[in-house]
């Protein structure tokens, strides 16, 4: 089966910045081939999943307010499928780490991530979540959440503009679109 180009409704493919890694992945899939039935099923599931990514209500500091702005009327991430924020990690698909993570918070973030159901994604929003930001020299700040949990998309800024966060969320949607779920484990065994 021919693997389709990645397309999401919000922004055309060419307008995204780093397309190389996704294009490379699609090429790889094309070279290896994808099963007809499972490929179609995957496409269908991914279409649904990428358009209903529900974020967890999780914010520690300033970025949380911008995250709220993105959820509110003007920017409204519900337009792109991030319908509502969920207060329980069990109902969330993506955790937007908005704000500094300090030592005391680190075990809680890890636990929240562990409580989320697979498949789950992480967006590191703002320079604090990426590297510790202005507080990177502090005695109790975790220098980047990627030290604790795996991160899918980094959104730089202090705090990032709502448009930047929307862009980052769409990058995540594209990443989800190209994932292969069906017989993923079997494939790993073959290798």
């Amino acid at each position: 089966m021919e693997v389709k180009d990645i397309k999401i409704k919000g922004i055309p493919h060419e307008e995204f910045n780093d397309n190389e890694y996704l294009e490379k992945y699609v090429e790889e899939l094309r070279a290896n081939g994808v099963g007809i039935v499972t490929g179609v099923l995957d496409d269908m599931i991914n279409w649904g999943r990428s358009n209903s990514m529900w974020p967890l209500t999780f914010a520690t500091s300033c970025c949380g307010i911008e995250f709220m702005s993105v959820g509110a009327a003007r920017f409204d991430f519900a337009r792109f499928g991030f319908e509502v924020t969920r207060n329980s990690p069990r109902q969330a698909d993506v955790i937007v780490v908005a704000g500094t993570i300090v030592d005391k918070m680190a075990p809680i973030l890890k636990r929240l991530y562990d409580q989320m159901a697979e498949p789950k994604y992480v967006i590191a929003m703002g320079s604090c979540a990426i590297s510790g930001g202005p507080f990177c020299n502090s005695y109790c700040v975790v220098n980047g959440v990627d030290k604790i949990i795996p991160v899918d998309v980094f959104v730089p800024g202090c705090p990032p503009k709502p448009e930047a966060l929307l862009y980052g969320m769409m990058q995540l949607q594209r990443k989800v679109k190209v994932e292969r779920f069906m017989f993923k484990d079997k494939k790993k065994q073959d290798k």
Binding site: T57, F58, A59, T60, S61, C62, G64, I65, E66, M68, S69, A72, A73, R74, N87, G99, T100, V102, D103, K104, M105, A106, P107, I108, K110, R111, L112, P134, F135, N137, S138, Y139, C140, V141, V142, K147, I148, C158, P159, K161
Partner: protein, 542 residues
């Protein structure tokens, strides 16, 4: 002031009085409690409002500095200093039974410097965990990550606290149980939307009634005060925006005034007016967000959407001039970073009538709602005495009948030139706090109206030296942030970096009264009360 001096010398004859920016009294630790009681109760002084207490590492020993003022006359200020005699095992008597402010502040000093307060009923770390090695604000602290590596293991929280009392054979250590054996303890937070951030309440319940709240802070403690000790003054500025990010501009304004006063930098009238306008715009955004989230907590999601919608109007105005939306980084020492955008005045002028219209809509939408009224009137009553004891200020303090608007009492920047009302209510319940915020938006609009056409011509920023050194001394500046009194304390030793820098956070006072006012309320009211208090957690934890 003469009467106060006599009172001090009568109670503590060995006290050293110094006339600095504020009257400073240095007193031996043994005389501290007697002096504190006298200062609070004597009608001549009546220092019943302890703004903050701060610990400083002086090198050989530690000193603790108490800033106090009187609710009779908020301009009357006094600084009391005491010191420990021992560096290895420092102890001081507590003042937590005299001023409620000391309850959390002394715990903070204990966590930062290791000073144990004898008689304090709950001597635990406030921000750091019990396993933390070392005391961060000591100058010989090992700040490397090897000493305290990141640990993602979840440890159970202790249900015990400690207290130190003076017994027959020296200072004794006693264990205290936080909750009773058969208490049902509900954990609210740190990841809970109604705590407005990462605050953790351990709530003991009797059925639906709250028996006790144990507040746990520190989930966003970033060590700003320690970081500041290694940075120059212009470099520290950006931290202030990230403390209470909803009044980012006002916090930065406070530090700028403090440094400017100390370094003798005169700013132009244009700067003063621009700063005041920006302060008031910030206050409106903060109150709007507070209104929006409080209503959302009580179930009105529409209110959240409306509040955020109107907030975006100001965000646009900010963005044009400063380049930032939430965090503007606009004030610099000596002025502001950039001149106003040509469209600024027009947009602010268009915003004022728009907002007035919307305020009416808010009242129609929510204030008269029968559910809202039932959930807010008579709920979470904060008495004036408690507010004073815990140094609660801002809209919350004013809702309890405490007149504490620093814009009125000690006008700074252009506040002396404008006319506005101080909103004071006496009910002290959630409704009063809620209405106070909406009325303050109205007053802020009134201030904007007076200033927007009267921006003087001139430089927006004066030239300052590339390296700013403050003369040796102590500087303290108080301003009225959106949540109450925000203070900056700088102790300089003539260097380009501060020896000790402390931010007085208004939210800390708000959180410290939560236990008192929530007792006896229903657990669902906790959400309403929390929403009406409107604390910002990074401001508490710093």
């Amino acid at each position: 002031m003469e009467a106060i001096k006599q009172l001090i010398l009568a109670t503590a004859p060995e006290a050293v009085l110094e006339e600095k920016a504020h009257l400073t009294v240095t007193v031996a630790p043994d005389d501290l409690r007697a002096l504190a009681t006298a200062l609070k109760n004597d009608p001549a002084s009546r220092f019943d409002f302890l703004i903050q207490l701060t610990g400083v590492d002086e090198g050989e020993n530690f000193s603790v500095i108490y800033f106090m003022t009187s609710t009779d006359d908020m301009t009357r200020q006094l600084v009391v200093k005491t010191y420990t005699t021992d560096r290895e095992n420092p102890v001081l008597p507590t003042v937590s039974d005299i001023w409620g402010t000391a309850l959390l502040n002394e715990r903070e000093v204990f966590g930062f410097l290791g000073i144990r307060f004898i008689g304090h009923p709950d001597m635990r770390h406030l921000f750091l965990t019990e396993r933390w090695k070392g005391y961060p604000l000591r100058k010989d602290y090992d700040a490397s990550r090897e000493a305290n590596p990141v640990d993602v293991t979840s440890y159970p929280m202790s249900d015990h606290s400690e207290t130190w009392v003076k017994g027959k054979d020296g200072i004794q250590h006693e264990k205290i149980q936080l909750f009773e054996e058969d208490d049902y303890v509900l954990n609210i937070g740190p990841q809970h939307p109604a705590t407005h951030g990462v605050l953790h309440f351990r709530t003991a319940l009797d059925g639906e009634i709250i028996k006790k709240i144990d507040v746990n802070c520190g989930y966003i403690h970033r060590g700003i005060e320690k970081l500041s000790e290694g940075l120059t003054y212009p470099q520290i500025l950006h931290f202030t925006d990230r403390l209470d990010y909803l009044s980012a501009h006002i916090n930065r304004h406070a530090l700028c005034i403090c440094v400017e006063k100390a370094a003798g930098i005169e700013v132009t009238d244009r700067t003063e007016v621009i700063r005041t306008i920006m302060d008031e715009l910030t206050r409106i955004t903060s109150h709007l967000l507070s209104w929006a989230t409080m209503c959302m907590d009580m179930g009105a999601l529409t209110a959240f959407i409306y509040g955020m919608r109107d907030r975006e109007k100001i965000m646009d105005i900010f963005e044009e001039t400063t380049g930032g939306r939430l965090i503007q980084n606009y004030n610099v020492i000596g002025g502001v970073m950039a001149d106003l955008h040509p469209d600024f005045q027009r947009k602010v002028k268009a915003f004022i009538p728009y907002m007035r219209e919307k305020l009416k809509e808010y009242h129609q939408l929510y204030t008269g709602n029968v559910i809202a009224v039932n959930r807010m009137i008579g709920v979470g009553v904060l008495s004036k005495e408690t507010a004073i004891s815990y140094a609660v200020s801002g809209p919350v303090g004013r809702a309890s009948g405490l007149s504490c608007d620093l814009r009125k009492i000690m006008p700074y920047s252009a506040y002396g030139k404008v006319e506005f009302k101080e909103i004071v209510r006496h009910e002290g319940d959630c409704m009063a706090r809620y209405l106070n915020r909406l009325d303050e938006i109205e007053e802020s609009l009134h201030i904007l109206e007076q200033l927007i056409d009267a921006i003087p011509e001139g430089e927006y920023c004066v030239k300052t030296k590339p390296i700013i050194r403050l003369p040796e001394g102590e500087y303290f500046q108080r301003v009225e942030a959106a949540r109450g009194e925000f203070g900056v304390y700088i102790q300089s030793r003539g260097d380009k970096t501060p020896w000790r820098l402390k931010f007085r956070s208004p939210s800390m006072a708000l959180v410290s009264v939560m236990d008192t006012i929530c007792r006896g309320a229903k657990v669902a009211d906790l959400v309403t009360i929390g929403g009406s208090m409107d604390y910002v957690i990074p401001d508490i934890d710093r």
